[in-house]
Amino acid sequence: MLQEFNYLAPKSKNELYTLLKKHAGKSRILAGGTDILVELHNHWIAPANLIDIKKIKELQGITFNDSEGLSIGATTVCIDLINDKNVKQYYPLLADAAGRIGSPQLRNRATIAGNLCTASPCADMGCSLLALGASVELGSADGVRVIPLKDFFTGPKKTQIKPHEVLQRIIVPAEMAGAKYGMRKLKRIKGHDIALVSVAMARTKSVMRAGIGSCAPTPVVTGDLSPKATVATVISAVEKVVSPIDDVRASREYRLFMTRDFVEKIYPELF
C-alpha cells in the first residue's frame, strides 16, 4: 500500500485547471507514473492528491503541420512517438531518443512530457528535444504560456512550471523537420539503464545544435551554431555548457572525455 492520497481523474482541460488551482502545492500530476510511482513507493513524496491526466482528450495525440511543426500532446508515451509516421519521417531523432528510454514496459507507459517535468539531468528526451530547439506550452486557469525548452529546466528536478500549471504539449519547430541527426548514450549495460553521458545532435541548412545529458545539473544545449561549424567549434561550444561531476556512476573526467568522443562520432553523420 502506498501512503494515502486522493485519486482524481479530470476529463477536460478546464476541469484540470480548476483542480490544479484548488489543490496547488498539495497535488501532483500523474501521467505514465514511471517516476511518480517510484517516488511514492520510496516515500519520497506525500501529495494529498494525484491528478491523472490520461483521460483528457485535449492533451492526447501527436500532430504535424508545415507552419508550426510537430505538436506532442502531454499524454503521448514513448512507444507512440516511436511509431508515429510524422516523427519517423521528419524528426527521427525523437524516435531514436524515445527508443533509448528504459525497457519496453517503461516505453509503453512513460510520457515525453513526464520525462521533461521530472527534469532529471539524464532525461533522454531532454537532450534530443533541446537539440531540435523545442518549446513547451504550459497551461493553467491563468492562461497559456510557451517557453523555450532551454529555459524550462532550472536545476536538477526543477523546472519553471508552477504548481497550478500543466505542461500541455511540446512543440518542435517546422524548420527542424528533416534535420540530420545523431545520438549516443553511454550506459553500463545494454538494456535498460540511465545515461552516464548522452549527446544528441541535429543539423539543418541553417543551424546546428548539440544537446547533452548527465553532464550538468540539467540537460543542456549549445547555442545555435552555424551548420558549417567545425567539429572543434562544436566541442568548444559543448565544453562551455557542460559541468560534469564525479558521482557513483562516473567521474568528471570520464564524462568529459566521452562527451567529446560522442560529438566527434556524431559530427560526420550530420553531413
Binding site: 502506498l2 494525484l50 490520461k54 519496453p104 514496459q105 535498460h192
Partner: protein
C-alpha cells in the same frame, strides 16, 4: 473506487483502494499470485503483465488506472489442464531455474509473439530487456522463445539432460 476490468478473459468488478498498485490488486484482491514483486520500482520486470496488448510493470500502475482495461497474466497461459506452448518451451529448454522471473518473462515474450510470429534473436532480446533473470544467463530463455515460435534447430552445442 469501483473499477471494472477483464483479467485473462474474465470480468471483475471490485472496490479498489486508490493507493494500491495493480500488482498488489491482482495478488490480493483478485487472488492471482502468479505475478511477482521483485523491486516494486520498475527495475526488474517480475511484475510484468500485458495491459491492452502492451507489456507494463504492474508495480508502477495504480489499480484504479486499470479501470476498463484488459489484463493478461501468467494465469491465463495454461488451459484445460495443459501448459501453453510457450510455457512448455520454457520447461523443455531449461529456461527456468528459481522461477521468480518466469511469469514476467513469459508475459513479455507472450506480448512479443502476439505481434511477431517469428521474432529474431534481436527482437527477443529487446522484448526481455526489462526482465531480469539472475539464474539462467538468458540464453535458454531466448532459445525457449525461438522454440515456441518454431524456429529452434535441433540442439547444437550444450547437451542438456
Amino acid at each position: 473506487m469501483k473499477i471494472k476490468l477483464t483479467v485473462n478473459g474474465k470480468k471483475y468488478q471490485r472496490d479498489a483502494s486508490e493507493t494500491k498498485n495493480l500488482l498488489h490488486f491482482l495478488r490480493e484482491d483478485i487472488g492471482l499470485t502468479g505475478t511477482k514483486e521483485g523491486c516494486g520500482a520498475g527495475e526488474c520486470g517480475a511484475c510484468t503483465v500485458v495491459m491492452n496488448g502492451k507489456t507494463v510493470n504492474s508495480c508502477l500502475i495504480l489499480a484504479v488506472e486499470a479501470d476498463g482495461c484488459d489484463i493478461q497474466t501468467i494465469e491465463g497461459e495454461a488451459k484445460d489442464g495443459k501448459l501453453s506452448k510457450l510455457q512448455q518451451a520454457f520447461h523443455k529448454n531449461h529456461a527456468v531455474q528459481c522461477g521468480f522471473c518466469t511469469p514476467g518473462m513469459i508475459m513479455s515474450t507472450r506480448a512479443l509473439l502476439q505481434t511477431t510470429a517469428k521474432p529474431s534473436v534481436e527482437q527477443i532480446k529487446e522484448a526481455i530487456e526489462g526482465n531480469f533473470c539472475r539464474c539462467t544467463g538468458y540464453q535458454q530463455i531466448i532459445e525457449a522463445v525461438q522454440d515456441a515460435s518454431g524456429q529452434l534447430k535441433k540442439k547444437e552445442g550444450l547437451k542438456r539432460a
